[in-house]
């Protein structure tokens, strides 16, 4: 019983790392543009599919495919940004619906290009087991990408707090006009945050591809998950996103171990709603969420 719980927590933590990669891009864009990119999950999936094609047609390993995925995802991310910048009225709602539509387009595009068949990597090395101590099991991919996500989260945090561009991003998030007065070009920071979101999405996509299976409807599900984690964490806290992601991961893992596999989504959703209604600013965040 105890080992089962411990294993579940371990798996949950590792999954949390991956979820954090998925969620951070969404959180970043929301921070700078106050826009929820409902096509974000599709970007993650796109990275995975590019890795698939690279592996299937060019015989490149998924890790080596990262630059390729990065290019593709970045281009699409910038395209999404360009479309979004054309919205003039009712920004919040209209961009929600626009990105919803873009998400549908991307999902169906992936369906058309890669068909509905479920794909996964042929590099089975990633999916082989890795054991921590003598008792905690996971796949190699899970461990690797958990570490990757820690590195990226730390890197993101440093970038936002130390580098000029990163701090410009934070300035625009908190007060756009004031930032402009200080010489920050909001457009540049917005594009930059989209590109960084694309970078994070790419790594999430490769993690996804090496660790699990992919098919077109997954994009939508990933967006939902990313949003749930962003809400859980609250605005303005990067480490919060990681913690929120791990919380979701652990909740799901515990539900699978002790209750039932089919209820794992339910657990996450209930947790999401509970936080939304009881503590709207998120578990770790500072911004206001009420209208």
């Amino acid at each position: 019983m105890f080992e089962l719980g411990l294993q579940a927590i371990y798996s949950g933590v590792l999954t949390g790392g991956y979820y954090a990669l998925v969620a951070l891009g969404l959180a970043l864009v929301f921070g700078t543009m106050r826009v929820i990119n409902l096509a974000h999950g599709e970007l993650v999936l796109l990275a995975a599919y590019v890795a698939y094609s690279a592996e299937a047609h060019l015989a490149i390993s998924p890790i080596a495919a990262i630059p390729l995925s990065l290019v593709v995802v970045s281009l699409v991310a910038v395209l999404v940004y360009v479309l979004l910048s054309h919205i003039t009225r009712d920004r919040e709602l209209n961009s929600l619906i626009l990105t919803y539509g873009i998400g549908i387009v991307l999902t169906n595009l992936m369906l058309l290009i890669w068909s509905a068949d479920i794909r996964s990597t042929t590099a089975t090395w990633f999916q082989e087991g890795a054991v921590l101590g003598d008792t905690l099991y996971s796949s190699r991919s899970e461990v690797i990408f958990f570490l990757v996500s820690l590195v990226l989260v730390a890197g993101l945090w440093f970038w936002l707090t130390r580098s000029w561009h990163g701090r410009a991003v934070r300035a625009v998030s908190s007060n756009r006009d004031a930032a402009m007065l200080m010489g920050v070009n909001p457009r540049t920071t917005e594009v930059l945050s989209f590109l960084v979101a694309g970078l994070l999405a790419t790594f999430a996509g490769i993690a996804l591809y090496t660790g699990k299976t992919i098919d077109p409807p997954l994009g939508h599900a990933l967006t939902i998950k990313a949003f749930i984690i962003t809400v859980l964490a609250g605005m303005g806290s990067i480490p919060g996103v990681l913690l929120g992601a791990m919380l979701i991961g652990i909740t799901e893992a515990l539900t699978i171990s002790f209750v039932s596999t089919s209820l794992q989504d339910l657990a996450g959703m209930v947790l999401f709603l509970a936080v939304l209604l009881l503590r709207p600013q998120g578990l770790f965040g500072f911004g206001a969420r009420r209208g």
């Binding site: 919040e92 619906i97 626009l98 549908i104 169906n108 058309l112 939508h220 989504d265």
Partner: protein, 319 residues
């Protein structure tokens, strides 16, 4: 005022008379129109919540599914007559919407996604509560629409009249509220909520009323669908299709007008069925997504106002 009456009468004549006369014998066409009208019903309910309630919802499938299940189960397990069960289905969806009411305090995107989470929760509950809903296996042989005064409403043409009436009733309700003081207060609340509350407007209560009404309409439409196709399972009842298509329809047609969602639904659904699906058998929804995106960028108020402006320009040019 007169122009509106003429249009309404023309509308009624067209849809109660001309359309059935022209297409009634072609099963495939009429059943597609019935499906389009089902989407239209949800689209009207969605537009009502979006325009008057000021809340965009990504989870209307929740109300659709709850209405469907409540109605189907009442007829199958408790022997209720179909129409009474359908109304109960609507009521059930309204009751379900009470659970979402705390989310009305949240800002736009958060509400939109909170309700999406509810839809997901209902789907999972419907799958897991096998004792009541028969779970993933679904419900078969749901009683069809009854025969009234010798007219079998269970046929395609009969169902057509039923759903048409439901949708028109929903549109009438939308129109009526829009023109009433409640409608004025709701519209004012969008931009100037403090100023309206200062005047004594109970903003949260009004929004809640719109949510309950929107859920009710969607629930009845869901119930209708259950009795029309006589089959139900959780993945179907709570499918994202019942959320996506109405949104595309309402935005496309113009959700700030009463007829916009109706026209949008017919246009979008029929185009999708007869044109897009033959162009791209899989992935035809890509055109829907593109249409949605394009419409939001070019004319966020939708097609009907766009056409209205176009006609206006033509009239000006002619004088």
């Amino acid at each position: 005022m007169q122009q509106r009456t003429i249009i309404t009468i023309g509308f009624v004549l067209l849809f109660y008379g001309a359309v059935p006369a022209a297409f009634g014998s072609t099963d495939y066409v009429i059943s597609s129109i019935v499906a389009a009208l089902t989407i239209a019903g949800i689209a009207v309910a969605w537009a009502l919540l979006g325009n008057l309630g000021g809340m965009v919802s990504f989870g209307h499938a929740a109300f659709f599914g709850v209405g469907a299940y409540v109605s189907a189960l009442l007829t199958m397990n408790a022997g209720w007559p179909v129409f009474a069960a359908m109304i109960a289905g609507g009521a059930g969806a309204s009751i379900a919407s009470v659970a979402i009411m705390p989310a009305l305090r949240l800002r736009g995107p958060y509400f939109a996604l909170a309700i999406l989470a509810y839809a997901g929760i209902f789907r999972i509950l419907a799958t897991e509560m096998e004792g009541i809903t028969r779970g993933a296996a679904g419900l078969l042989s749901i009683p069809r629409l009854p025969t009234i005064l010798g007219f079998d409403l269970g046929t395609n043409i009969g169902s057509y009249y039923v759903i048409l009436t439901i949708v028109l009733a929903a549109m009438a309700a939308y129109a009526w509220i829009r023109r009433s003081e409640i409608g004025f207060a709701l519209l004012a609340m969008h931009e100037t909520e403090d100023a309206t509350r200062i005047l004594g407007v109970p903003s949260t209560r009004l929004k809640a009323m719109m949510l309950v009404l929107s859920a009710f309409i969607t629930g009845i439409v869901g119930a209708f669908n259950a009795h029309h196709i006589s089959f139900l399972d959780p993945d179907y009842a709570f499918s994202g299709v019942w959320t996506v298509l109405p949104i595309v329809a309402a935005i496309f047609g113009g959700f700030r007008t009463v007829s916009g969602p109706f026209i949008g639904a017919l246009a979008i659904y029929l185009l999708d069925q007869f044109v897009f699906k033959s162009l791209l058998p899989t992935g035809h929804q890509i055109i829907l997504g593109a249409a949605l995106g394009t419409m939001i960028l070019l004319s966020p108020d939708g097609l009907v106002p766009l056409l209205g402006r176009g006609l206006g320009k033509m009239r000006h040019a002619a004088t």
